[in-house]
């Protein structure tokens, strides 16, 4: 069992007794996809993981190891084959006001403009939001500026480039201010410079709130630079290879830290764990 999880979980604790600091706890979670002509496929093979309030957790792992599946489990969109997951109160029931998710694909509704797509969470769960549409619209403006999508607000999804579609999905995710944010490779289709800027901005947005974050990425540097803690998954069937705190200060971070030796060494060690996993 990884270190942090062991700290937070008393062995033998019932899944409902969630430590007050924790948002989600996974205990011995197994998941298999089954049947359908291709035989059973074991994807997750005993995952123990706790996400505390206010923490930014990055998840690294080879393609197809089960990262998206893990996020789906945390989001309550899938149920584990074995093991259990417990959420802090209201987290599941009050999506999307308390939990937000950025899917690996943009999943924009083709008949709605960028702006309308971005406001979808509000329209789907009006009653959940304390702050109303006015505030959402203010936030929309800021996010459109941030992502450089302002001139395209009335474009339909098929008129946007691949990266712009991902950014539009990002706006939709961040327009709510939840307790837990699930991000599935949000910056994969975006160029390096924009990506760095967006990463920094994203971290400062969640750092200012008390939100916890699970951030799936393929970039070791991005994981190390953005997160407070990095979890590395093994190839399928996936177990947790490592669960490490990032040796950088909390709060906002600036680009200069990327030349920092501690940071570069940390990246190298992550790289080594992955390569040997």
């Amino acid at each position: 069992m990884p270190l942090l999880a062991r700290e937070l979980l008393n062995v033998g604790m019932s899944p409902d007794a969630l430590p007050s600091a924790a948002l989600v706890a996974l205990t011995g979670v197994h998941l298999s996809f089954g049947g359908g002509g291709n035989g059973e496929l074991k994807v997750l093979d005993g995952i123990d993981l706790v996400i505390p309030r206010g923490e930014f957790l990055a998840v690294l792992g080879p393609s197809g190891c089960g990262k998206s599946t893990l996020l789906r489990l945390v989001a309550g969109l899938l149920s584990p084959t074995a093991g259990s997951i417990s959420w802090s109160e209201g987290l599941i029931e009050r999506r999307p006001s308390r939990m937000a998710m950025n899917f690996q694909k943009p999943v924009l509704l083709p008949w709605l403009s960028l702006e309308q797509n971005a406001l979808l969470p509000f329209n789907l769960a009006k009653s959940e939001f304390d702050k109303g549409m006015a505030e959402a619209k203010e936030r929309l403006e800021r996010l459109l500026q941030l992502t450089g999508l302002e001139p395209f607000r009335h474009y339909l999804p098929h008129e946007l480039s691949g990266g712009m579609q991902m950014r539009a999905a990002l706006v939709r995710t961040l327009i709510v201010q939840p307790d837990l944010v699930l991000m599935d490779e949000p910056f994969a289709a975006i160029d390096e410079l924009t990506r760095e800027g967006l990463g920094r901005d994203f971290r400062s947005i969640v750092a200012r709130s008390d939100a916890g974050t699970i951030f799936v990425t393929h970039s070791i540097h991005e994981a190390a630079f953005l997160a407070d803690r990095v979890v590395i998954l093994s190839p399928r069937p996936s177990r947790i290879l490592a669960d490490l705190a990032v040796p950088l200060p909390g709060g906002e971070r600036d680009i200069s830290q990327r030349r920092n030796d501690v940071y570069l060494d940390f990246c190298d060690s992550l790289r080594e764990i992955i390569a040997n996993g």
Binding site: L77, M101, L109, L112, Q116, L124, A125
Partner: protein, 268 residues
């Protein structure tokens, strides 16, 4: 290549694009039919009582236009009512059946078996239950409209991309929201196409009902003129029913201009 792509991507319109273009196309089509018809009559030198020429039919119409138009209006009114009722109920049922799989499993065979009962055979019973007045016509038109809508709507709902379903599940959308924001917009063109099919059926259903007991409507005119051997007048009724069909076929397309806008407005 760029062209062939454009071609493949061209939006669905059944060739009836904007209002003006629609009218032009229909005019062209009507001209084509009339030409074809006339040449069939001429080439096979068919007698009037089998297939009158377009001129004879036009003459019969202009002999008493008000008479024909009044009856056509009655049929149009009943067909429109039947269309609205049949489609509303059909969509409503599809909504329920999509939600409750168990009910769908049990209900579909029942519905299908009703669909396969020839409406002409049902007509006498409908007359007994709903009288010889307007109700029996509207009921028959609704019944004919009903099935294509139910089946096509269910089909359209079921073929929506699973990624969207996951998104809406994540956002804890309730069924009403799924309908409004996902199922309907995504199925919109399918449903309009189904309505276009049922629009024609609404006209046919009304006329068949009028054939089995009515003193008004194009069905009544058909029956009466065929008995009086006024074949050109009978063809006037048939032509009017065909024209009604064209008008009805284009009615659902109005939805394209009305509904999506309001959906969008409702959203932002």
């Amino acid at each position: 290549m760029a062209d062939s792509r454009q071609d493949l991507l061209k939006g669905f319109s059944l060739g009836l694009r904007t209002g003006a273009a629609t009218v032009t196309n229909i005019a062209l089509a009507v001209a084509f039919i009339v030409a074809l018809w006339w040449s069939i009559v001429a080439i096979f030198s068919l007698p009037t009582f089998l297939l009158p020429s377009p001129a004879e039919v036009a003459l019969a119409f202009f002999h008493r236009p008000a008479f024909f138009l009044q009856h056509a209006q009655v049929t149009a009114y009943h067909a429109a009512l039947g269309f609205i009722i049949g489609n509303s109920l059909g969509v409503a049922l599809a909504i329920v059946l999509y939600r409750f799989t168990r009910i769908r499993t049990l209900t579909m065979p029942v519905l299908i078996s009703f669909q396969a009962i020839p409406i002409v055979a049902l007509a006498p019973i409908l007359i007994v239950w709903f009288g010889t007045g307007m109700a029996s016509k509207v009921v028959m038109a609704s019944i004919l409209c009903f099935f294509p809508i139910v089946i096509n709507t269910l089909q359209a709902f079921s073929s929506i991309d699973r990624d969207y379903a996951e998104l809406f599940d994540f956002y804890r959308a309730n069924y009403a929201q799924k309908l409004k924001l996902l199922l309907f917009p995504a199925s919109f063109t399918s449903i309009v196409a189904a309505m276009q099919i049922s629009a024609g059926l609404a006209v046919v259903g009304t006329i068949v009902a009028e054939l089995t007991g009515s003193d008004r409507g194009l069905g009544h005119v058909l029956l009466n003129t065929s008995f009086r051997f006024e074949i050109p007048s009978m063809f006037v009724a048939m032509v009017l029913s065909a024209l009604l069909g064209i008008v009805f076929f284009n009615m659902p397309r109005v939805l394209r201009y009305v509904i999506p806008r309001s959906w969008k407005l409702g959203l932002v």
